[in-house]
């Protein structure tokens, strides 16, 4: 019996070690690479022979500066989230407070929209943006990102309004408030935490999006995910720059996931689990 528990413990320990190693190795590799000096690429997990801060300097302030791309990503993310909320909030509110056949079918259709592969809409979206001269603009890319964020935001926001009791709204009406006052003074302020979470989720999905950014952006509007492609040319791949910018690109992700901790499951499952 003692031997058995001991064996079990060792087995769990072994599994944990393997899991931790395979999870962290790619990241450790990136960190090592980001400090590697010229002519000394890290092999294995040993420190590169010549350590340098040059790669970091190059990416942070030098001629391979990352900030314009980061700025593009942040701006597109904010545009996307803002437009999404303006469109999704009133709809989500009315889905939550009112039931009719129209409301039900529109709400259900959001789920079907979530299923549509982005690549299947890529051709018409490209043509549409081209017609209105929105290719190579940040707002054009945000527009395409709505395809990903709108169904998500409608489901999330409806979930939040469902949690909001209608009693406060009812008593405000009895006190003589009109519908606009109820909405503006009570419902919207009370749903602020839900709005914040939804905003961050939309931002997150816009920030990591690759396909639409690839077809819509050009040099001046490249977002972070697309920037990595510019480091890989036919002649060489700038691994050190990739490593530095990869690590920098994680900063917004760390902040977002830190703030979203308690809401992750809800966002990932379209509010199926709370």
């Amino acid at each position: 019996m003692v031997v058995k528990t001991l064996l079990k413990k060792w087995f769990a320990f072994l599994v944990i070690t393997i899991a931790v190693l395979w999870t962290l190795l790619p990241l450790i590799d990136l960190v090592l690479m980001s400090f590697a000096g010229l002519g000394s690429l890290p092999t294995g997990l040993r420190l590169p022979k010549r350590l340098t801060m040059n790669n970091w300097r190059n990416v942070l302030f030098g001629d391979r500066i990352i900030w314009p791309f980061m700025l593009n990503s942040l701006i597109v993310g904010c545009y996307t989230s803002a437009i999404t909320l303006i469109v999704a909030m009133p709809a989500a509110y009315s889905f939550s407070r009112h039931r009719s056949r129209l409301h039900n079918s529109v709400f259900r259709s959001m789920l079907i929209l979530r299923i549509i592969p982005q690549v299947a809409l890529a051709i018409p979206i490209f043509f549409l943006l081209n017609t209105y001269r929105l290719l190579d603009t940040r707002i054009g890319l945000s527009f395409a990102h709505l395809i990903i964020t709108i169904p998500l935001a409608v489901w999330l926001m409806k979930g939040y309004y469902d949690l909001l009791s209608t009693e406060i709204e009812e008593s405000a009406i009895i006190d003589g408030a009109n519908w606009f006052q109820v909405l503006w003074r009570i419902s919207i302020p009370l749903s602020a935490p839900g709005v914040a979470v939804t905003f961050m989720f939309c931002f997150l999905f816009s920030y990591i999006e690759y396909l639409y950014a690839l077809i819509i952006t050009r040099q001046s509007t490249f977002t972070l995910p697309i920037m990595f492609g510019t480091y890989m040319t036919h002649h060489e791949t700038h691994w050190r720059l990739i490593a530095c910018s990869s690590l920098i690109s994680m900063i917004p992700m760390v902040i977002l996931f830190g703030l979203l901790q308690k809401h992750l499951i809800r966002g990932f499952t379209l509010g199926a689990f709370k």
């Binding site: 931790v20 790619p26 990136l30 009133p90 009112h98 982005q118 995910p225």
Partner: protein, 288 residues
């Protein structure tokens, strides 16, 4: 106002309906329309009806790509579920150090997919990649992971699995933590083994959670594009081609918009069929 029948509730839907019409309905009809044409920006547009569909039905590349996409979905989703389950089992009870372990295990989700792809390309690198280095240390020959048609596809799948485990893990973990403990205590008293408790108690109680994770992950994996495109562009040859990259390739590399549209429509139809099948399998869970 609050729950009554007021036109304001219908008015509130208008922005959403308008936007959905512009970004979903119109594009869908445009793709359907284009799928009946042979359309190239230089050679012009010619109506061909169902011709492209008929050709694709016997197109070997297209059919193998569909099959490969299914392989991709099955391998990636099942691996994610199994590994996510193992991770959850290791960390669902609060013990010393478990919080740190949980944090470590969700690290891959902090990398945007483009970064995940590049960092694995670094690991797979022929000359200085860590994987070949380890092989070398073990006295094994180096492998051209991403430029050999035998290993490119599995290599990309491993990357996808690594990148999305935290997603499945977090859903399963939340589900496992919300299971009541009493049945397990009762089973303990009756002398059930850990394996028995897992198979007869844990799995059945986790079923809705597993189903949710599986459905969402299946749909997302079916759309896969980023990892394959960055790491191999579907190559070498077409050995790692999936539907997402094939359509992208036809539409935006060789500008065959008509062909790309037809493929898109077929991809959509298969997607809906997939959903329908999943709904049949998990019918008792009507939330989805």
């Amino acid at each position: 106002m609050v729950t009554g029948k007021k036109p304001i509730f219908t008015i509130m839907l208008i922005p959403l309906v308008v936007v959905v019409a512009i970004i979903f309905i119109y594009p869908l009809f445009r793709v359907l329309y284009l799928s009946f044409f042979d359309y190239h920006p230089v050679f012009g547009k010619e109506f061909v009806g169902l011709q492209t569909y008929r050709e694709l039905m016997v197109d070997k590349l297209f059919l193998t790509t569909i099959l490969r996409t299914f392989t991709y979905v099955i391998v990636v989703v099942l691996s994610n579920l199994v590994i996510g389950m193992v991770y959850s089992l290791l960390t669902y009870r609060s013990r010393k150090g478990v919080k740190v372990l949980r944090l470590i295990l969700i690290v891959p989700i902090l990398l945007i997919p483009a970064v995940t792809a590049s960092s694995w390309m670094l690991l797979y690198n022929e000359q200085f990649g860590l994987i070949n280095h380890i092989l070398g240390a073990l006295g094994l020959p180096a492998i051209m992971w991403l430029s050999s048609s035998r290993t490119a596809f599995p290599a990309v799948m491993v990357t996808d699995i690594w990148g999305w485990i935290p997603f499945v893990y977090l859903i399963l973990l939340a589900g496992m933590q919300s299971i009541p403990t009493e049945p397990f205590e009762a089973a303990e008293l009756d002398g059930a083994s850990s394996t028995q408790k897992f198979i007869y108690l844990m799995l059945p109680m986790m079923k809705p959670v597993i189903a949710t994770a599986m459905i969402i992950k299946t749909l997302d994996t079916y759309k896969t594009f980023t990892f394959v495109w960055i790491m191999t562009k579907g190559g070498p040859g077409h050995s790692s081609q999936v539907l997402g990259t094939l359509i992208f390739n036809k539409a935006f590399s060789s500008f065959q918009y008509g062909l790309g549209s037809t493929m898109s429509i077929i991809m959509l139809l298969i997607g809906f069929l997939l959903i329908f099948l999943i709904f049949l399998i998990f019918r008792e869970r009507n939330r989805w």
